[in-house]
Structures are given as structure tokens and as C-alpha cells.
């Protein structure tokens, strides 16, 4: 087991290096000179060169073969990529080009908002998706099954930005039940250790704050949860149906186990394996979907921030934000793999 985990963690390393590499490539290859972006179109040659020097943009991308030809070994490695990796190793993500604020600082502020939104969406998706899948599978071809499967297919097919807009129209504009955007109403302030407003307000015993935070988060969370919910429900159903056809289910029934025991003890644990995997993969969908949802609901998270940065060519932000999202995604899937081993003895004992 320990060996499996260690092997799995080691296997992530090349992926991580690749991820940093791709992000580096992207931000350098995006058209437009960041120095010009920083100084504006009318900057002098001189000041552009100064900025380039300051940010190391005058160095070659990977290796400096001219420096090597003159016998300068350390100059050989003095490149944008090496410097970038070096800064990365001390968690230095650089400064926003436009606002001159360290990226890490803004990340710290904005990250909890995205985490709170994604977590709540995932919880909604799991709490609804899995039971729906189980019920559908255990009553295959019944009316409940058909309705919930068509429902989850609609969920999978949902353009979430459109759903979000429809929610705003119905619940915020027409019915005026919920606020159309933002994370908190003006006048509210929630402080705490987790920076997740729902959790912090409960910890502080601030019920009014909790209610306000909830009224803001519920619409984006539901919109974001729609696709994962559908996917999880469908996966749970098909995985349950697969498992229910297995010989060991017949064995369990031949032993005299009742339907419920067979379903929850013998089928669910086996069916959980692919479901857990799909949940891990949905973490990525959520984080990427956050770009859309956060845009619509003016949610102050990293998704919207990264999107704005891409349009504004603010490379350090793009780099930091994408890196963080990719890292979380890799980490979630690493955890899923380990969970998988816990659930399945065949992997555990390999």
C-alpha cells in the first residue's frame, strides 16, 4: 500500500514538470510583447529595454548557446525558463504587470472564494447525483429511472453560463429572491481562519452573515453543480448496473442476503470505484467551469481573474492562476487514486 502511494506520487512528478513547462510556453508564446503591454504603445525603445532587462525578458527562453560558446557555463543556464523555475521553487509567482501586486497575495485572497464555490457545488452534485444513480439502477426501466436519466442527461447537456443567466433572470430579476451577484452584500463582513464564508460565519455564530453568504453562493453553486451532478448520476447508475450483473451479486443473493444488503454492501462498494474516479475528474470541470460561472455572477474567485488576465496579457497572473488550478487538479486525482487503492484490494496488494 505504502509502496503504491509512493509510486503514484513519483509518477506525478513528470506531469508537474510538464505542466509548469506548458504554462511557461503559453505565457511566452502569447502574441504581444509584455513590456509593451506594461508601458503602453508609445513607450521608448530605451524604457522597453529597461523593463525587459528588469523582468529577464531579454534572456533566451531555455538555454543560451552563445554564452556557452564564449565559455560561460553559468550564462548558459541563465534563461527565462531556468529563472522561472527557480522563482517557482520559492513560491515566487511574480507581480501583476498592471497592478504591481504580488500574484501570490491576490491568489490568497481570491482562492478561497473559488474553493468555497467549487466545494459546495461538488457537495451538491454528489449528494444528489449518487442517490439518484443508485435509485435509478435499482429500479431499472421504471418511471423514476427514465425521469432521472433524462433529467441527468439534460444536466450534462446544460450550458452552465446560460443556466446561470436563467437563474438570475428568474430568481433575481423577476422574483427578486436572491442577489444577482457578488459574494456578500455590502455592510456584511465575515472574518475567520478558513476564508470560506459559509464555514467562518457558522464558526463565528454569525447567522445573518451565513444567510447572506448562502443567498449569494446558492445560484452559482447550483449552476456549477449541474454538469457534474448529471455525470455522477449517470456514472453511478451504469456502474451499479454493471456490478449488479456480476456473479458475486448472485452469490450474495444465494446466501440469503436481502435486496438492501446486496445493494449497499456488495454492489455499492464495487460500483464506487469508477464513480470516485469520475468525481476526481469533475474537479477539473468545476475549476474550469468557475471561469464562466464567476464571470456571470461577479464572483471574486480565480477563474474570472485568470480570464481577465489572459485578455489583458498579465502573464504572471495567468501563470500563477493556471498553475494553481492545474496543481489542484493533479492533487485531487492523486488523492482519488489513493482512495481507489483503499477501496479495491486488488490494487492495494499489487
Amino acid at each position: 500500500m505504502t509502496r503504491y502511494i509512493i509510486r503514484r506520487i513519483i509518477s506525478v512528478i513528470p506531469t508537474l514538470i510538464g505542466v509548469t513547462f506548458v504554462i511557461f510556453m503559453f505565457q511566452r508564446l502569447i502574441p504581444g510583447d509584455p513590456a509593451i503591454a506594461m508601458l503602453g504603445e508609445h513607450a521608448t525603445e530605451d524604457s522597453i529595454n529597461r523593463i525587459r532587462e528588469q523582468f529577464g525578458l531579454n534572456r533566451p527562453l531555455f538555454l543560451d548557446r552563445e554564452a556557452l560558446a564564449t565559455g560561460d557555463l553559468s550564462g548558459f543556464f541563465d534563461s527565462q525558463y531556468v529563472n522561472y523555475m527557480e522563482r517557482l521553487s520559492h513560491l515566487d509567482l511574480g507581480e501583476s504587470i498592471h497592478r504591481r501586486i504580488p500574484v501570490l497575495e491576490t491568489l490568497k485572497l481570491r482562492f478561497p472564494a473559488t474553493v468555497e464555490l467549487s466545494l459546495l457545488s461538488m457537495i451538491i452534485a454528489i449528494l444528489i447525483g449518487i442517490p439518484v444513480g443508485i435509485i435509478s439502477a435499482s429500479r431499472r426501466n421504471s418511471l423514476i429511472d427514465s425521469v432521472s436519466m433524462v433529467g441527468s442527461l439534460i444536466g450534462v447537456s446544460m450550458p452552465i453560463f446560460w443556466l446561470g443567466l436563467m437563474e438570475i433572470m428568474l430568481l433575481a430579476v423577476i422574483l427578486k429572491w436572491l442577489p444577482a451577484g457578488g459574494r456578500l452584500s455590502t455592510g456584511f463582513e465575515i472574518n475567520g481562519i478558513t476564508h470560506l464564508y459559509l464555514v467562518d460565519s457558522l464558526l463565528n455564530g454569525d447567522l445573518a452573515g451565513f444567510k447572506d453568504a448562502l443567498s449569494h453562493i446558492i445560484m452559482p453553486a447550483v449552476a456549477l453543480a449541474t454538469i457534474p451532478m448529471g455525470i455522477i448520476a449517470r456514472m453511478t447508475r451504469s456502474s451499479m448496473l454493471d456490478v449488479l450483473q456480476e456473479d458475486y451479486i448472485r452469490t450474495a443473493r444465494a446466501k440469503g442476503l436481502g435486496g438492501r444488503l446486496v445493494l449497499f454492501r456488495h454492489a455499492l462498494k464495487n460500483a464506487a470505484l469508477p464513480v470516485v474516479t469520475i468525481i476526481g475528474l469533475q474537479a477539473g470541470t468545476l475549476l474550469a467551469g468557475a471561469v464562466l460561472t464567476e464571470t456571470i455572477f461577479s464572483w471574486p474567485g480565480i477563474g474570472r481573474w485568470v480570464y481577465d488576465a489572459i485578455l489583458g496579457r498579465d502573464y504572471p497572473i495567468v501563470q500563477g492562476g493556471t498553475l494553481l488550478i492545474a496543481l489542484i487538479f493533479v492533487a485531487v486525482n492523486l488523492i482519488v487514486d489513493i482512495l481507489y487503492a483503499l477501496l479495491d484490494p486488488r490494487i492495494r496488494y499489487k
Binding site: 510538464g18 505542466v19 538555454l63 442527461l153 447537456s157 450550458p159 446560460w162 448496473l241
Partner: protein, 409 residues
Amino acid sequence: MTQINPEEFIVTDFAVREHRSLWGDAWRRLISSNTARLGMFVVILFISSATLSHFFWEYEPKKDLDYSLKLKAPNLTVTEEIPSIHPFGTDKLGRDIFRRVVHGGWNSLRVGIVAVGISLIFGGVIGLLTGFYETITMTTVERITLFGISGFLLGSLSAWIANQPLQLVGFTLLGLVAGYFEGFWAGQLKRVVFFSVLGILISAVPALFAGSSVALVCGVLGLLTGIFLALALDGRFFSNVMMRIMDMILSFPGYLLAIAIVAFLGPGLGKGMIAIGVVGIPVYARLTRSAVLSVVNKEYILAAQSVGESHGRIIFRHITPNILSPIIVQTTMGLANAILSAAALGFLGLGAIPPEPEWGAMLGDSYRYLTSGAWWAVLFPGLAIMLSVLGFNLLGDGLRDALDPKLRT
């Protein structure tokens, strides 16, 4: 009573069975399912309306502008105020939304089809090759090719540093030699030493002209390349490298990568297609690979090998037809996904360039008017996205049930 003797057996058999082809069977199952029929109906409706309108219903987005009809609610009859019928209302520039939705279908479906085509072709080929060579031993020619390419790729760094393209030829040759003489001192230290010395010679000696430090660096690289080429590279290795690359692409969540790619390429429909297609490659590569792995150990592949069929023939004649069903299903559902991603890009302003009609872009254009009550400008393009995506998903579901013998009832 006369006795019959059991020895008098004569062959008689008239237990005749109806002949059914595999695909005919699947087709019958497909059209017998309500959901699949509904999906097919929706898909055909969208494809035909988009195609027909593109070719027979003229529309020039650049000239479509009428401020007097700005943001009018849907009307089904002509009134004095609005002299024309707009079943879906009009948008902020007074354009008929119905017309734009119908024409937008052409763009959205096109993006979906091209994007899936890109993912399918690249992903499918990668999946086929990795899955196949992970299990089946390479032939000499294939191995030599692999070694040659490896030598070329590894040597390119050293050649670039020394600024001597000639090194590439040397390393490629070294690779070819290593591939051809695979059995030469195989598994012995001698082989590693031999090839690393050759590698150092190929890289460091010509690099001496560029300077001693260059020669040193190149020598180290040559040594590493030599060691690498001395090892027994095989299909499994190739497959591992490819799959790691696919994992890397997959570790960027969903359209975040597509957004980044479009940001790199600049906005536009064609670029959106490429971006969505590239993001989908690993999905198809993985699916194809696992499908290949599930059939490549079957007896019929062994049988094909044992009668000496070539690898290419085995891949195309025996493997491809047997892995088609999951790929067909994935392609159908992939179309749904691609349409959805294209709409998302369009919504963010990274897809079609205005005033070109595209569902996502139409939404992105109009959603700011939602608070002023113009619900129709948002509702109808969104419905078009959802229904077309749902249609492909329904069809994909039906196809899976029809093609997957495991779920037959």
C-alpha cells in the same frame, strides 16, 4: 417389435436460424429505443436546418442592423410599431434572433464537427499505436524507425547547442545502428559503454570547433544519448512517453486549456475549433488505447499474427473494426461536448468574431440586457445550445445501448 440400433446415425439438421449482421442488429436496437429516436430527430433537425439555411436562406450579418427594432419582444403578428415578424424577438442591434439562431447553428455545428475530427484523428492514431505496441513486439523495421527517431530527437539538443546540424545525422545514424544491432552485446555493460563512447565522439568532437565548454556540454549530452540508445527501447516505452504527454494535457482542466490556446492563437471560429480539438485529443487517445488493449490479447489477433499478417493489416483489419463501438459512442457524445465548449468560448468572446452569428457569442452579446428585461435575447440561443447538445447526448446514449452487448436485455 423391430429394434433400431443406435449406430445408425445419419446427419440431419434443419434447425435453421435467421441470419443477423452485427450492425443490422445494433441498428434495430437503436431505432427501437425512444430516447435514441428522439436524439436522432433532434440531431437531424438541427443539422438540416443549419445546412439548409446556410445554403438557401441568405443572411449577411455585416449588413444586419436596425436600431428602430432594438430589443423587441417576440411577436407573431405584424403590428404598426413592428412591421416584421420576429418569433424570437430582436437583439440590441435590432437583428432578428430567430434568423441568427438558425444561422448560428451552422457555425456551432461546424466547430463541433471539426474539433471532434481533430481530436478523433490525432487521438485515435495515438491510441491505436500505443495500445498496439504496448503489447505486440515491434518488427525490426519498426524498431529501427523508433530508434532512429529517438536518436534524432535526442541529438537535436546537442546539435542546437553546438550549432552544428551535422550532428543530427550522426545521432540519427547512431539510433538506426542501435536499432538494427539490437542483439549486439544485449543487456551487457559493454553495449552501454560502446554506445556512450560513440555518442561522445559524435557530439563532442565536432563541438570542439565551437569551443571547449561547448564540447564539454555536448559530450555530456552525447554520453546520455548513447546510454539511452544502448537500452532496449520498445513499444511499451513509446507508449509510456505518449501517455505521459496525454496526462499532461489532461491535467489542464477542461476549457481552461482551450481558453489559453485561443488566447495564444487569437480569437476566431477556426482557432476555437483547433483549441477544442487539441484539448480533446487525450480523451480519444486514452479511450482508443484502452479499447485496443482489451482486444489485442484476444485469440483472433494471435491467430492473425500466427499466419504472418503484417502489423498494419492487423491494426486495420482486425483491431479497428472491433473497437469501433466505444469510439462511435464517444464521438457522438464528444460532438455534444465540443458544441458546449465552443459556446463557452463564444460566450467569453473568444470564439466567433462579431457580427458572425454563433450561439455562445449571441449569449455573451446580450446577457447584459437581461436585467432590463430582454429575456428572449438570452433564452433562445441558450435553448438552441442545450437542445442540440441534448440531441447528440441522447443519440450517443442510444448508440451505447445499441452497440454494447453487455447491457442487452
